[in-house]
Assembly symmetry: C2
Homo-oligomer: 271 residues x 2
């Protein structure tokens, strides 16, 4: 999917919501545990109930790897289901990968070719040659960690490196990498005031924003400082939507939570 | 496996060699491609031929994920084969994972419980709460990226942060994390002179050292500056050993390459 198509979808659906499919078997409705593939059954129900309210789904690979081959199968079935039935959805493999060049190429092959995701999240610690193999793919997007929403973000990301915070270095340095136009960045919602600074460095790139909802970030604050001329935001909510209820009507409850966020987004987009 | 057991194995085998199982189907002997699971067949032959010369195997997960479910099956078969037949081997999942706390717990479950690896590599960018879930596992080891062997290491890792290089910050900060005794670190061999500085910060921790061989690092130099009282080094070689030959006798060629490195290590250990 191209960035242009993503922006079109945002305006069409009046939503820049991304739903995180972080499926934990201990948290899903118990009646699903009898199914052959409970994770996929859960995802399918959530996707069918919410696809018109969001522009993106983001399975976090950890939640699938934890169940070994069965989990990897659930992941494959989920992405295949989305691509077949809702090809207008922007898919994100939240994998936070990154390794030396030839190894990153293998990860890029895994997520862009084998699983056919539109994008993958990567970690910046190993620098340019660990990220450029992902950037080399046409119409695929590489979403690099910049400023994350967790407490540990303050261990290194916000520390001063040669006159500015590490995350600013990461943003600025990456702008010079080959095919940098394919870069998006992860910026946590829990620090809305940082968005002003970030937009000075990357005025146009899309930002994937976790931390609204369960982690306490405010949608309005993030939009106030983070929105670009082309919206430029994908706001992720995982637990707040998918675990809205544990009963048989869980998908309806998820739809209601997603609809409430979509409505807020529609209001923001119209002003 | 405990650190004590690993050290015992090093002295028993007179080796601190780790063999990287980074299997690329385009690089293995062509006669294996007819097998049902070429990757596992390749690994099994390499392991059977070299297990007495090394103390550790390190499959890099990227090379398995690139082949989807089939690849994940090959990884599972490989680790199960090692654990069953050579339980004295220290196994490393080279996965470079790291995410917010509850997600890192899922990765830890994937590699320590589901796949039963002794250790996993992690990235430090997201800080304390992204690494501690791994450290919580008894007799399991978390190998954190400190100074990597690639060109991109100079993008951020060696830049000055509040008076010292970022990788030194990573080393020092992590010493204060819960269960820090379960930490090892990745330090590239291509920068032998750095080991002196690193040993001032972490005098005892094991260092996993890629970059000897294909990437040009010198074993003698690394040992000169990096060896601790308890050896404290795992020297990794991947391509230099496993792709020594593409003919039917590839496992013999791999054994010869491993034996040459083991012999060098034996000499170093005896002086």
């Amino acid at each position: 999917m191209t960035t242009k198509q993503l922006i079109e979808q945002i305006h069409l659906k009046k939503s820049f919501l991304c739903i995180g499919l972080d499926v934990d078997l201990t948290k899903i409705p118990s009646h699903l545990l009898q199914e052959e593939d409970p994770i996929f059954s859960f995802n399918k129900a959530i996707i069918d109930a919410t696809h018109h309210l969001c522009v993106s789904y983001k399975p976090n690979t950890a939640f699938y790897e934890a169940y070994g081959i069965k989990g990897w199968k659930s992941l494959e079935k989920t992405i295949t289901y989305i691509n077949k039935n809702y090809p207008e959805i922007f898919t994100i493999a939240d994998a936070k990968r990154g390794d030396i060049g030839n190894t990153s190429s293998m990860y890029a092959k895994a997520f862009f070719e084998d699983l056919a995701f539109d994008s993958v999240t990567v970690a910046p610690y190993m620098g340019k040659d660990s990220v450029e193999p992902f950037l080399a793919f046409e119409n695929k997007h590489t979403i690099m960690l910049a400023l994350t929403s967790n407490e540990g973000a303050f261990d290194f990301q916000t520390k001063n490196m040669e006159g500015k915070e590490l995350y600013k270095h990461v943003l600025e340095t990456s702008k010079g990498w080959k095919n940098a136009k394919n870069l998006m960045y992860v910026v946590g919602a829990t620090k809305a005031e940082y968005f002003k600074e970030i937009r000075k460095i990357v005025p146009d790139n899309f930002l994937l924003v976790p931390g609204v909802g369960a982690q306490g970030g405010s949608l309005k604050e993030v939009c106030k400082y983070g929105m670009s001329a082309n919206v430029g935001l994908l706001i992720n909510s995982s637990r707040g939507i998918i675990y809205a209820s544990k009963d048989e009507n869980f998908a309806n409850s998820a739809r209601e939570k997603a609809a409430a966020l979509q409505k807020e987004m529609q209001e923001i987009l119209s002003t």
